[in-house]
C-alpha cells in the first residue's frame, strides 16, 4: 500500500522534478563546477586547470566582496524586520476600517506589480538634493540644510538610508496582502474572548494576532530574507550602474556576481562570479535552516 502510493507520488511529481532539474539544479551544479576552474575563458570555453579553493580565497581577499557582504547584510537585517513590523501594523489598521480595506489593498499592491527598476528611478528623483520631494518635505518641517541623499556628495549612510526606505516601501505591498488575508482566517471568537478578558489593543496584537499569524510571519520572513539577500534591482534603480557614490559603495552580493560575470574577456573572472554565487547560495541555505529551527520553537501549531 505504502510503496504503491509512493510510486504514484513520484509519478505526479516527475514533470515538476524534471523542470526543476533543468532550470535549478543544473545551473547550480554547473556554477559549482565553474567555481573550481582556473583561468576560465567562457568565450573560448578553455581552462588552464583546476583549483579547489583558489577562486574562493581570491574573493574572500577582495575588499569589494566584503563591502558587498556588509551592504547585503545591512539591507537584510534592517529592511526585513522593519517591513514585517510595518506591514503587520498596517494590516491591523486596515482590519479596523473594513470599508477602506479594498481601496487600500489596491493602493498598497501597486508597487508590487510595478517594475522595481522603474520605481527605483522614481525614488532617485524623490531623493534628489535640489528637486527631490524628500528634501522639500524636510524643509517644510524646518530642517533647513538640504541633505544630499544619493548625489555626488552623499555619504554611505545617507545612501543606505535611502536604499532601506526604498526597499521597505517596495516590499510592504505583498506582505500587507498576505497578512490581511491571514488575519481574516483568525476566528473572531478569540477577539471577542479577548475583549471579555479586558485585553488592551496592544495585548491583543502581541499575544493573539501575532502568535496566531506566526506560521505566516515565518513564511514571510524566510522568503523576504532570501529576497533581501538577493537585492540588486533596487540598487540599480536607485544608484544606476555606478552602484553608488563613490562607485560600488552600495554594491550587493548579487551586484558583485553580475559585475564579474560581465567581464567575459578577462580570464578567470567568470569563475569568481560562480564562486561568489555559490557563497550566496550557502548563506541563503544557512539562513533558511536557522529560521526553520527557530520556528520549531516559537511558531504555534
Amino acid at each position: 500500500m505504502e510503496t504503491k502510493n509512493n510510486w504514484k507520488a513520484w509519478l505526479y511529481l516527475a514533470p515538476m522534478l524534471l523542470l526543476m532539474s533543468v532550470f535549478t539544479f543544473y545551473p547550480l551544479i554547473n556554477a559549482f563546477i565553474i567555481s573550481f576552474y582556473k583561468g576560465y575563458r567562457p568565450l573560448q570555453n578553455s581552462i588552464e586547470g583546476f583549483t579547489l579553493l583558489g577562486n574562493y580565497l581570491l574573493i574572500l581577499r577582495n575588499p569589494l566582496f566584503w563591502n558587498a557582504m556588509k551592504n547585503t547584510f545591512v539591507i537584510a537585517f534592517i529592511s526585513v524586520p522593519v517591513s514585517i513590523f510595518l506591514s503587520l501594523a498596517i494590516a491591523v489598521g486596515l482590519k479596523s476600517i473594513p470599508k477602506l480595506n479594498k481601496f487600500f489593498q489596491t493602493v498598497f499592491f501597486l508597487p508590487y506589480v510595478t517594475n522595481s527598476i522603474a520605481v527605483g528611478m522614481a525614488f532617485a528623483v524623490m531623493f534628489h538634493k535640489n528637486y527631490g520631494l524628500i528634501n522639500a518635505i524636510l524643509e517644510r518641517l524646518g530642517f533647513a540644510g538640504r541633505i544630499d541623499w544619493i548625489g555626488g556628495t552623499s555619504s554611505w549612510w545617507t545612501q543606505m538610508v535611502a536604499l532601506l526606505i526604498f526597499t521597505v516601501w517596495e516590499s510592504l505591498a505583498f506582505k500587507i496582502l498576505v497578512f490581511t488575508s491571514g488575519m481574516q482566517n483568525i476566528d473572531k471568537q478569540y477577539y471577542d474572548a479577548a475583549k471579555i478578558d479586558s485585553a488592551s489593543k496592544w495585548t491583543v496584537f502581541r499575544r493573539i494576532t501575532v502568535p496566531l499569524l506566526s506560521p505566516i510571519i515565518l513564511y514571510i520572513s524566510i522568503t523576504s530574507m532570501i529576497g533581501a539577500l538577493k537585492a540588486y534591482n533596487s540598487v540599480i534603480g536607485l544608484f544606476g550602474v555606478k552602484l553608488g557614490n563613490p562607485s560600488n559603495s552600495m554594491i550587493t552580493i548579487v551586484a558583485f556576481v553580475y559585475k564579474y560575470r560581465a567581464e567575459l574577456a578577462s580570464p578567470g573572472y567568470y569563475s569568481y562570479a560562480a564562486a561568489s554565487a555559490i557563497i550566496l547560495f550557502i548563506i541563503t541555505v544557512i539562513f533558511s535552516l536557522i529560521q526553520g529551527a527557530v520556528s520549531k520553537k516559537r511558531v504555534h501549531y
Partner: protein
C-alpha cells in the same frame, strides 16, 4: 448586583437585506445573586441576549443596567463580566495556565496573587494536573471547564454561560451542573445560564426565562412556570415527556375531548386546545370515566410506568403527535391491549385558546 434590560432590541440585517429581530423589546430584570436559566429553542436569541449583556453586540434599541449603572454604551472590557462561550473560544496557543491567567494579567493583578488564583481556580474545576497542556490536548469537557475557570478567575460582577454543558457526557454534565450551582452559591455572583435543555434549566436555576423568536414568553421559578404556563409554547417546551395536546370544546361547563368529558370549567362555550401533563392522567379503577383508550405500549422504569397510546384514526383530536403518554404508578400492572379509563387531575390540565394563550 442585578441586571436590568429595558426594551432591549437587536436586529440583524443579513446579506439579502432581510431583517431578523433576534432580540425583540425585552424587558427583564435578573435579580442580584440569582442563577437564571435562559431557555428556548435553537435560534430564539439566547446567545444574542447574552452578547448584548456582555457588550459584544450593540443593541439597536433599549438600555442595560448593572445595578444603578447604565452600561448600554460601555465597551465589554469595562463591564466586568465573565463569559463562557458556546464553543469555549480558548486561546489555542496558550496552555491551560496561560488561558486562565490571561484576564488577570490584563487587569494587572500582582504576579504572585495571579499565580495563586489561577491555581485555586484550576483546582476548583479539577484541572490542576493539566495546567501545562494546550487546549487541543484536552477533551471537550475539560476544555469547557477551562473556559469556566477563565471566566470566573477575575471575580466578575456577572457570569454569563452560553450552553456550557452541551459537550459533556451525561454523567459529567450532572456533575458540572452541580459544580456550577455550588460555585454560584459560594460566590453569590449574578449568573445567566443559557440552555435549550429544559430539564437542565429547571434543575439548576433559581428562576427560568423562556424565550421564543426573540420574545420573552415567561419568567418565574421553575415549578411555577411548569405549573402555570402562560401559553401553549411554554407548556410544550417544559416537561419531559411533553405535555399531551388535544383539540377540544367547552360545552355547558364541561371540557370535552372527542365528546368525552375530562373535566369541568367555568369558561364559556368555545373551541379550545387542551393540554394534559402525562402525570396528570390517572387510572380510573372504577372504570366509570368516559375518557378511555386501548394501550399500545407499556414502559416500566423503576417506580413509574409510562403508557403509550397510539392514535391511528384520521380525525384524531390529538395535536402534533401520533402518540400520547400517561405516567402512572407501576403497581397498576397494565399490559398492552388493555383498555384503560383515565381521570384527569384538574391541576395538570391546561386550557388554551386557539391562539395558544392560557385561558
Amino acid at each position: 448586583m442585578d441586571i436590568k434590560m429595558v426594551n432591549l432590541t437587536k436586529i440583524f440585517t443579513s446579506k439579502n437585506r432581510k431583517e431578523v429581530q433576534a432580540v425583540s423589546h425585552v424587558d427583564l430584570t435578573i435579580p442580584s445573586g440569582k442563577l437564571i436559566g435562559l431557555l428556548g429553542p435553537s435560534g430564539c436569541g439566547k446567545s444574542t441576549t447574552l452578547y448584548l449583556i456582555a457588550g459584544l453586540l450593540k443593541q439597536n434599541e433599549g438600555q442595560i443596567f448593572f445595578g444603578e449603572d447604565e452600561v448600554s454604551e460601555m465597551p465589554p472590557e469595562k463591564r466586568g463580566i465573565g463569559l463562557v462561550f458556546q464553543n469555549y473560544a480558548l486561546y489555542p496557543h496558550f496552555t491551560v495556565r496561560e488561558n486562565i491567567l490571561f484576564p488577570l494579567q490584563n487587569l494587572h493583578v500582582p504576579k504572585e496573587e495571579a499565580k495563586q488564583r489561577t491555581f485555586e481556580m484550576a483546582k476548583l474545576v479539577g484541572l490542576e494536573e493539566m495546567l501545562d497542556r494546550k487546549p487541543k490536548e484536552l477533551s471537550g469537557g475539560q476544555q469547557q471547564r477551562v473556559a469556566i475557570a477563565r471566566a470566573l478567575v477575575k471575580k466578575p460582577r456577572v457570569l454569563l454561560l452560553d450552553e456550557p454543558l452541551s459537550n459533556l457526557d451525561a454523567r459529567l454534565r450532572l456533575q458540572t451542573r452541580e459544580e456550577i450551582k455550588r460555585i454560584q452559591r459560594e460566590t453569590g455572583i449574578t449568573t445567566v445560564f443559557v440552555t435549550h435543555d429544559q430539564e437542565e434549566a429547571m434543575s439548576i436555576s433559581d428562576e427560568i426565562v423562556v424565550m421564543k423568536d426573540g420574545v420573552i414568553q415567561q419568567m418565574g421559578q421553575p415549578q411555577d412556570v411548569y405549573d402555570h404556563p402562560v401559553n401553549l409554547f411554554v407548556a410544550k417546551f417544559l416537561g419531559s415527556p411533553q405535555i399531551n395536546v388535544f383539540d377540544g370544546v367547552i360545552e355547558a361547563g364541561k371540557v370535552l375531548i372527542d365528546g368525552m368529558a375530562v373535566g369541568a370549567t367555568e369558561l364559556p362555550d368555545q373551541k379550545v386546545v387542551i393540554g394534559i401533563r402525562p402525570e396528570g392522567l390517572q387510572v380510573d379503577k372504577t372504570a366509570l370515566s368516559p375518557f378511555k383508550f386501548e394501550i399500545d405500549l407499556v414502559e416500566t422504569i423503576g417506580r413509574d410506568t409510562t403508557l403509550i397510546i397510539e392514535v391511528t384514526s384520521e380525525e384524531s383530536t390529538l395535536l402534533d403527535k401520533k402518540t400520547f403518554k400517561a405516567i402512572v404508578d407501576a403497581e397498576n400492572r397494565i399490559r398492552p391491549k388493555d383498555v384503560i379509563h383515565f381521570v384527569v387531575k384538574p391541576e395538570k390540565m391546561h386550557i388554551f385558546g386557539l391562539d395558544g394563550k392560557h385561558l
